[in-house]
């Protein structure tokens, strides 16, 4: 998700001082992107709401350490991603694949790319880990190094998860296309 919202330095300074109005302004500015990120990864609105709360509590606790390097959204997004991934680790048992996945094989001829709703449905059917890697890399723009650090895995893991997820998406979309 691309976010161009600029946060005035004075607002960040007030938030750092504990000003509740400033903290609420930050919350209002970032609640949607944080929730959207969490929902895309976790799929459950309840879990996404929990991550939203946990993220902002962490923001309140840690904003004193935010030194202004990079966009504030980048800093908050990292916290949100970390909270969402923590939830995945906590609920590993839920992270069962809905589709057995073989290693990314050779690809065959490709048909027309199906409509958006099909992609959204296919994306939702990926495992939480796969969704997290795809969303963080392809949409939020995290590097494999950053994803590996957030997940406590290797860069190779992130890369292979991404390739496998795309192979799976492609296959599911082909199935959807053939069925329609």
């Amino acid at each position: 998700m691309t976010l161009s919202l600029a946060i005035p330095d004075i607002l960040v300074a007030r938030a750092k001082s504990g000003d509740l109005e400033a903290l609420e302004a930050l919350y209002r500015a970032f609640e949607t992107p944080v929730y959207n990120l969490a929902l895309r990864i976790l799929r459950s609105p309840e879990d996404a709401e929990d991550v939203l709360q946990e993220t902002f509590l962490e923001v309140v606790r840690s904003i004193g350490h935010y030194r202004g390097e990079g966009h504030l959204w980048g800093w908050i997004r990292r916290i949100a991603a970390s909270k969402a991934l923590m939830r995945i680790r906590r609920d590993q048992v839920r992270a069962t694949e809905e589709f057995d996945e073989t290693a990314a094989g050779h690809v065959g001829p490709v048909g027309a790319v199906p409509a958006r709703i099909d992609l959204e449905r296919a994306f939702d059917r990926l495992s939480e880990t796969s969704r997290a890697v795809v969303w963080l890399h392809d949409v939020e723009g995290h590097t494999h190094e950053e994803i590996a650090e957030l997940m406590g895995k290797t860069v190779s893991f992130s890369k292979s998860q991404l390739a496998r997820a795309h192979a799976r998406l492609r296959r599911m979309l082909d199935q959807e296309g053939a069925a329609s």
């Binding site: 959207n36 509590l57 050779h106 959204e120 795309h166």
Partner: protein, 192 residues
């Protein structure tokens, strides 16, 4: 003919493709179409609608923030009482220790500490803070006071040297005076 794998295509899309994959893509229309489909999928993922929370979560976040602040103040208050009780016990039960402890001086510093603490209560810590620097300073001072209180509590269970005990109380007074200055300046700033 060997085609690109999805690993190859994802690497090419990220600008990290192997020489073989890039050369193959120049010659193979099937793999080029697959790469184009990958680009399209990523573009479509970015274009997925933004979901918004159904309920406002700010009240819950706000309540948690306030609870955290209340806990912090309570811990500080309990620390002060415990520290005072510890020193009182030392003064009552160890009269002969006063040979080295200047009891009057200790009592004076302790009274000074209690007075400043009472004055600090007049300035609502929840009031709006306009300067991040002063708030950070206030937080650091509160942490410092809490640390001194911890030392004073421990002093109640051990046998510290009288000078060390007096030094701790003076340190506490000094920190609270600094905190007072910060809070008074802050309250003046917001017109309290």
């Amino acid at each position: 003919m060997i085609h690109c794998t999805m690993d190859d295509l994802v690497a090419v899309q990220a600008g990290e493709g192997s020489v073989w994959a890039r050369r193959h893509l120049e010659a193979c229309s099937v793999c080029r179409a697959e790469l184009e489909a990958l680009y399209q999928r990523i573009a479509q993922l970015k274009a997925l609608p933004t979901r918004r929370p159904a309920r406002d979560q700010w009240p819950a976040v706000l309540e948690a923030i306030r609870g955290h602040r209340r806990d912090r103040r309570r811990r500080w208050g309990v620390g002060s009482v415990a520290a005072a009780a510890g020193v009182a016990a030392l003064l009552v039960f160890r009269p002969f220790w006063s040979k080295s402890v200047d009891g009057a001086e200790l009592a004076r510093v302790k009274q000074q500490s209690a007075t400043i603490e009472a004055q600090l209560e007049r300035y609502d810590p929840e009031s709006r803070v306009m300067s991040g620097r002063s708030a950070a300073l206030a937080a650091a001072l509160e942490d410092g006071i809490a640390a001194v209180d911890g030392e004073l509590v421990r002093a109640g269970t051990t046998e510290p040297r009288s000078t060390d005990l007096l030094k701790l109380w003076q340190q506490r007074v000094d920190l609270m005076q600094q905190l007072m200055s910060v809070r008074v300046a802050r309250a003046s700033y917001v017109g309290l």
